[in-house]
Symmetry: C2
Subunit: 287 residues, 2 copies
């Protein structure tokens, strides 16, 4: 029987727990989440447990990263189940502030990232990554982690946060962890719960299109346009999957790419029914 994690509802409670439990040379790992946890999150938690003395998971559905027309209110929540899952992983602290404990009504400070965050999802969701950066910095301020863990499913988010940490000299190591997929290839996402049975089946074209891209690159294809044509062809076979973007960009700087002359990422976003899904694959040429 594992122990229930301690729960902190505001910065002071989190700091009090940490001041009691973090010793001079002990390390702290943080897994920031919006809750409704799945095996993707749990893989981050296990990595954080392995690499640190203290493991903190934050659960906070961050209003600042949702635009008014987005799914903030509908975003799935199940704190009871989340806490059971985190108990089983032997997490030490769950930091789960209320929106009021996180943001004062007259808050006026924002972190903005003006390069990596502008393309891909950032183009369709203006302000989204400012909200992400701001909440992540606040989590870092309260938890003071040595390491923080983010899933590669949100590939752009991972790169933006790495950039923020570098630019602001944050004393934290940002670790990206591999996408966890269902057996049939669907990338795990809390938003998969929005999918009906038929939509769930159709959403598989996303990961299949990335398989196709990977195969082309392995076969020696270097022309980004030709690779993306195939990706879009695979997806367009399912008319109920409305592609928002499919792009290939530099894996670290997210700069546009015409030729596969360096490590790249193929990233895509699509609407499937009510769900906006994203997926990606890092593409490396065999030399």
């Amino acid at each position: 029987m594992k122990k229930m994690p301690h729960i902190a509802r505001n910065p002071a409670e989190a700091r009090e727990f940490l001041s009691l439990h973090v010793r001079t040379r002990s390390s702290v790992g943080l897994v920031p989440t919006m809750g409704f946890l799945h095996e993707g999150h749990l893989s981050l938690v296990r990595r954080a447990k392995e690499e640190n003395d203290i493991c903190v998971v934050s659960i906070f559905v961050n209003p600042l990263q949702f635009a008014p027309a987005e799914d903030l209110a509908a975003y799935p929540r199940d704190m009871e189940r989340d806490l059971e899952l985190l108990s089983a992983e032997d997490v030490h602290l769950v930091y789960s502030p209320s929106p009021g404990a996180m943001y004062l009504p007259d808050r006026s400070t924002l972190i903005t990232e003006n390069s990596l965050s502008r393309c891909l999802c950032g183009a369709a969701r203006p302000g989204h990554f400012d909200g992400v950066c701001t909440v992540v910095l606040k989590l870092f301020s309260v938890i003071a982690p040595d390491r923080a863990y983010f899933g590669e499913k949100d590939y752009q988010q991972l790169q933006v946060i790495k950039r923020m940490a570098r630019d602001l000299d944050l004393p934290v190591e940002i670790t990206g962890c591999p996408i966890i997929r269902e057996r049939d290839g669907l990338a795990l996402s809390s938003r998969n719960i929005y999918l009906g049975e038929k939509e769930r089946a159709e959403a598989l074209v996303l990961s299949r299109s990335l398989d196709a891209a990977e195969e082309l690159v392995r076969g020696g294809e270097t022309d980004v346009t030709r690779i993306l044509d195939v990706v879009r062809d695979v997806i367009s076979a399912c008319p109920s999957v409305a592609l928002e973007y499919a792009e290939i960009r530099g894996a670290d700087d997210l700069a546009p790419l015409d030729i596969m002359n360096k490590r790249a990422v193929c990233a895509l976003a699509a609407r499937v029914g009510r769900a906006r899904l994203i997926d990606n694959r890092v593409l490396e040429r065999r030399d």
Copy 2:
């Protein structure tokens, strides 16, 4: 004979010194400066020494807070003299990074404060306080101070930084320290060196206009417009002092004020020759 402070030229050097010298329960005080130190800075240093086990002074002329047309290149520098002054105060660490160690060419992350920073100096110097917030957060990231000390001469800066620290849950106490003045009333500023002898004498109208405002409020005047009329009259007696703004605003939120119904600040900025000077006075009614 006091000991020369240790000098760190980049984040790694500063962290290394601190990891060796900061013990579990010892406290760190930081005084961020742009160098060319005067008694105003030294009053902050003494306060930081009094209240903390370790005293760190940063010296960095921050390009990010200067607009292209401003005095970045001309800003006075004298590192040798600064280090002598700080030796005499027994400062432990001087953090003085090069611009290249502070900002990478492809940096893309900025802190913005969108309320307090928009008025007063922020209106005339767009981007200035974004630059201030960004560099101060970076200093906090590297030094991890328990307390940081700022002069009330830069009154708006102090309020903006307090707001940033609050909004971002930064684990640092922001302390404002009183303006230090010459015997005749001129507020100390590194930029006073720009003043010729005649300009130096004329710049005294700034503090005199604040004396007049204070006297009016003590005498029971509550009408902000009438107080500001007197302030502007005093300053306009010196035609070589070009007033940029004279305003009375709420002392904490910097919101506009018509009636002196709460603690307020009278803040002003003026050009005197090559120098852009600022001064202010907190005004409190006697009840």
